[in-house]
Every structure is written in structure tokens, then in C-alpha cells.
Chain length 143, copies 2
Amino acid sequence: MPKVKIPNNTAEQALIKLMRVGDRLWRESDERFGQWGLTDNHYNVLRILNGAGEPISQIEIGRRMLSSRANVTKLIDLLEEKKFVNRLNCEDRRVKLIALTEVGAKFLGETLRQILEAAELSLKPLTKTEQKTLSELLDKLLH
Amino acid sequence: MPKVKIPNNTAEQALIKLMRVGDRLWRESDERFGQWGLTDNHYNVLRILNGAGEPISQIEIGRRMLSSRANVTKLIDLLEEKKFVNRLNCEDRRVKLIALTEVGAKFLGETLRQILEAAELSLKPLTKTEQKTLSELLDKLLH
DNA sequence: GATAGATTGTTTCCCTGTTGACAATTTGTC
DNA sequence: GACAAATTGTCAACAGGGAAACAATCTATC
């Protein structure tokens, strides 16, 4: 079988590992949220709303989670159906402001511990110091 | 709007950044391979075959790239159509061995430089030493 | 103010990947 | 050897996400 000689490349090796680890984490994450009939992206929306502390527009949500407008519409559809968020009319009538409801906040509060424990578990192979180092290196990559 | 107090958590912050960076790299990667009518996963198959140095079964390909059997079938379908790989019959008649063709190897050789350059560019915010550190930390996470 | 251009959310269509069912084949056990 | 169980590849059905087209609305320029 023909074979191409591929030179060792520090950057590419790190890159491949990054993609591999990231991929695995997304899968695990998705599996975890499946138990509540959500995807990690749904949960992500709740976290973003909670972090914002005030209702924000769908497009702003999309910006913060690097997702398309179209997809945000679908995510909000489900979250609204579950009563976790509300669509509020805005002065600018093109915009729908998305607000976290009491139900949504309650859900966040109740599930948070489990999520944080899972995060600890995923990063357990690293010491706290190593986790900090990793965090700093990743910061540089998030331009 | 109700708000849940979320404690700072080193592990979760690192985790989120990992997922974010990984996600961005997948997108960039997909965009890059789009110019040849492939996805990054198609290219990944070629790399795996080249790395193996000999024909391997579809299920083995799936194992190495963490993808389902069904998806490997589709990936190989396209690669075979482009004459980049061949399906060979095996002694075990359930198995199809996948072999890289001359055309596939030529494609790999011609595109490789571009791929490696893109990797260098993506990791440019880090020094070589930092890239090595990152690589080592990620190794620990790939159990 | 009128009109062209941007912006926001929605809808539709498409692409990639997974799951589950299936047929063909192999392995293991009696 | 015969029959149950496991393995491999394929197919159909389905879900998540993106791009483009669309309507409603706002902004800017004249």
C-alpha cells in the first residue's frame, strides 16, 4: 500500500489532541444532559442567561455561544416549552428578549452540583495546578 | 430575573474552554476541507490508513476515530468514489479491508503542507514550549 | 417623510452523525 | 456437525446544527 511520509509536527499533534479531547467532552456532556431531555447547548443557554443576569436577545445568545440565529430559535423553542425561559417583547419590535423563569432557575440550581462534579471528574487526571496551566494556555488560544 | 449563584470552579472553567477551543478548531478544520469536497473526518480516514501502513477493516477505522460503523460506511463510500481508497475482500468474508490508493496517497502528499501550515497558524499564540506543555496535559486527559 | 439598506427572528432545506434493524458470516458449545 | 451467540458492514429513520430565503422592523440618507 502506498504511504506518505509525514513529518512530526508539534503544533499539529497538539491540535489533534485538542480536537480529540474536545470531541470526547462534547459527547460526554451531551449524554449527561440527555437524562433531562436537553442537549448541552440547551443548558448552555440557561447558563448564559443566568450569567447575564438580565434578559438578552436571541442574537446575543447566539453570539455568546457561537451558534447561528436559526439554531438559537430552536433551542429557545424547547426551553420555552419546558417553561425554563420566556420570550419577552422588546421596545425594538424585531427583538425577543429571553428571560430565565423561576422554574428555569430552580432547575439550574438543582442540577448544578451534578454538573460541577462531572467536570471535576473529567479533569481528575490533572492536578489543580495543571488545570490552571491548561486554562491559561487555552486562554491564549481564544484570542 | 431570578439568578442562581454559581461558585467558581477551576475544573469547570478549564472544561468549558477546552470544549470551546475544540469546537472552534473543528469548525475551522471543516471549512478548510470543504474546498476539496471533504470533511475533516474523510481526511482523518486517509491519515489513519496512511499511518496504519496496511489495509485495515472499517470497524478498526471507526475505533481509531471514535466514529460509528454506519458512519464509516458513508465516509468510505465517498472516498471510494473519489478513488482515494479501495474496499478489498478479506479471508474473513464479513470484513472489507480498506486500502489507500496511489491517488489517495498523492492527494495526501499534495495537501499535507497546507494542513500542517494551518495547524501552525492555529497554535501560533503559543510558543513551541507551551505547545509541548499543552500536548502533555492533553495526553493525561486521553487516559 | 420616503426610500434603500441592515437587523432580528423564523422557516425550509440540507448535511453529518447516531441508533437500531437486517443479512451474511464466523465462533463457540453441546 | 448443529445451533445459538457474536461480529461486520449496510440501510433506513431520526436528531442536531448550518445556510439561505423570507417577513417584520429599525436606521440612515436624501
